[in-house]
Symmetry: C2
Subunit: 350 residues, 2 copies
């Protein structure tokens, strides 16, 4: 076994200290946030749970942070982006389903009437998901999603959907990771839809993505094993099911939860009522100029109970308008570091 | 932001190299294995997938290894240890269930007749699990398991059950971790039973434990949220369901799988038929002196198809008798480094 001499050992220890100090002392870990109270509270929480001499210190293994996706990490308007994927799949598959031209909700999709297609609520959505997300192997489905996510454009901004993640949230993910947090996405969206691109876009590996799922079956086809996607619901990861999904996948209670709608209420409640230092945060979509403004009566991302109870529960309500210096991340775009001028909340920022 | 000067940067880079070389060149990463072909093949696989210039190199993020638990990481005789936990729970709860004195399989348990209690197969086992593992909160259940696992003793060896993990497997877990693998336990046993002690005993955190589960429900009791365990099966993580459990929790295909019974067949099949370098291993219980000898007609841990197909599939069949220098790990015992003389396969080893 190779041995280090005493001098090398001391030098290496010194280098380790310098390197970690360099990481920790970066000027501003959240550059796309304005210097408001939300930012201060967030940074203060991370400092409190990571400083070894802090009364609120949390060991690294328990630094679990959970994030909703739609409306929290990326936009969700005019409808959840996965619904747009469903619509595109229906259009692609339509030639094999002549009955869809008269059968709802498919007929509305083919006419381009999104609102009407979704008017049937969860029942209609599940029907469309089963018709488009099942019947193929998991590998085939991954390829379909990968192709779509790398080419489909948002109907209003013209951006790739992965260019509509929020830079302030990317800042938080990076800051938490630098401070030893393990980050999980806990989404009402499809787990297999998210996993295809979450690692590239958020640096969250597949095993740290939790979401809704359909059942699958293991099959050996001519000696080649495959996992086949079945048209049967397995788990809907929303509302009071989010703590269940967290418990199933993670097996311990997070200390930080970030959401944006009442679908995230129980996830924040479960996270913030545990012992020790806890933090709950809600993105409030109040920026009609740079993104969208909606909350209480919204058809997507409704936030009502969360707004009512945030103050008494000590949750931070993050104002996109006031707290965020920029909105969309430039991940995956050509101009990787430039923030478009119309997205700069503070005119003094270049 | 603090900057490193050029000299410090070079020194730090050199130190990083020295430190990693030190780790990789430890004398023998598997000291409790005899120097047989199984050990050579295992070490050679790890070297091939981790050396950057190897044609079989696998990036760190894809170095996923899955391990069965019962009969692979710890013993499973005379019956699965969790069944002994179930029996102890039935005895504890019996005063509240006078009907159990005549009702099977409970009556057999109370008479101490383990074989008869399990004669009803899965149906009887599920019935006993529901009567003993449900009806409490997850926190309450964790405490019950923690108390049991820290005090209950094996009926034949008199050891704590956590003292019946296999040292050669602990060696592999450590070696794989040092080489950037992420280790998951994929067990037919209860996920919540395992998670209570897997981190302490195997250094596998709860979020990397996959197992069978019952359904749960989120509830708020007087403002205090709890997750309640329900008497309803959620998932049986065995046979063709193991690849499904892996897919649900990990979302990518492992490159190494280690099992011991036909319940692990599909997990090994799924793992080893993927593209690139793959390794499947089976523990063969052939050591009647130091542990137990069983395979084809066993009531627990039956290994038949695996033995038939291992050679043609390139799986390593590990002989406990010939390949393992010691059997039980000393984790959690007072004599932490001593291997009892009767457990030393090679008489030249002190």
């Amino acid at each position: 076994m190779m041995k280090l001499n005493r001098q090398s050992t001391i030098l290496c220890a010194a280098c380790a200290l310098v390197l970690s100090a360099t990481t920790l002392q970066a000027d501003d870990p959240l550059p796309s946030w304005n210097d408001t109270k939300s930012k201060t509270r967030l940074l203060s929480f991370v400092a409190r749970v990571t400083k070894p001499d802090s009364p609120d210190f949390v060991p690294k293994s328990d630094r679990i942070a959970v994030f909703d996706n739609d409306g929290t990490l990326w936009s969700e308007r005019p409808v959840y982006f996965q619904a747009l994927f469903v619509f595109d799949r229906i259009k692609t598959l339509a030639p094999d389903h002549p009955e869809w031209t008269t059968q709802e909700p498919f007929a509305s999709v083919l006419r381009g009437d999104m609102r009407n297609a979704l008017a049937g609520g969860e029942k209609a959505l599940v029907e469309m998901v089963m018709a488009t997300h099942a019947g193929m192997t998991t590998e085939e489905f991954e390829k379909i999603v990968a192709d779509w996510i790398s080419t489909a454009k948002h109907p209003e901004t013209g951006r790739l959907f992965t260019e509509m993640t929020y830079q302030p949230m990317q800042d938080i993910l990076a800051h938490l990771r630098q401070n030893g947090f393990k980050i999980f996405i806990v989404s009402g969206g499809g787990i297999e839809f998210l996993r295809v691109w979450a690692e590239r876009v958020y640096s969250v590996p597949p095993e740290q993505v939790i979401g809704s799922s359909i059942k699958t079956r293991y099959e050996v086809r001519d000696g080649n094993p495959v996992i086949v996607r079945l048209p049967e619901l397995n788990f809907i990861d929303d509302k009071a099911k989010k703590p269940i999904g967290i418990h199933q996948h993670i097996g311990r209670r997070p200390i930080l939860a970030f959401g944006n709608s009442d679908g995230d209420f129980e996830m924040l409640e479960w996270t913030t009522t545990g012992k020790g230092a806890r933090l709950g945060l809600l993105v409030h979509h109040d920026d009609a100029t740079r993104e969208y403004a909606y909350d209480r009566d919204s058809h997507v991302g409704r936030l009502s109970r969360g707004l009512d109870e945030a103050a008494s529960r000590g949750w931070i309500v993050v104002s996109m308008k006031n707290d965020w210096r920029s909105i969309y991340s430039t991940t995956g775009t050509a101009d990787t570091n430039q923030i478009p001028s119309n997205e700069t909340g503070d005119p003094s920022v270049p």
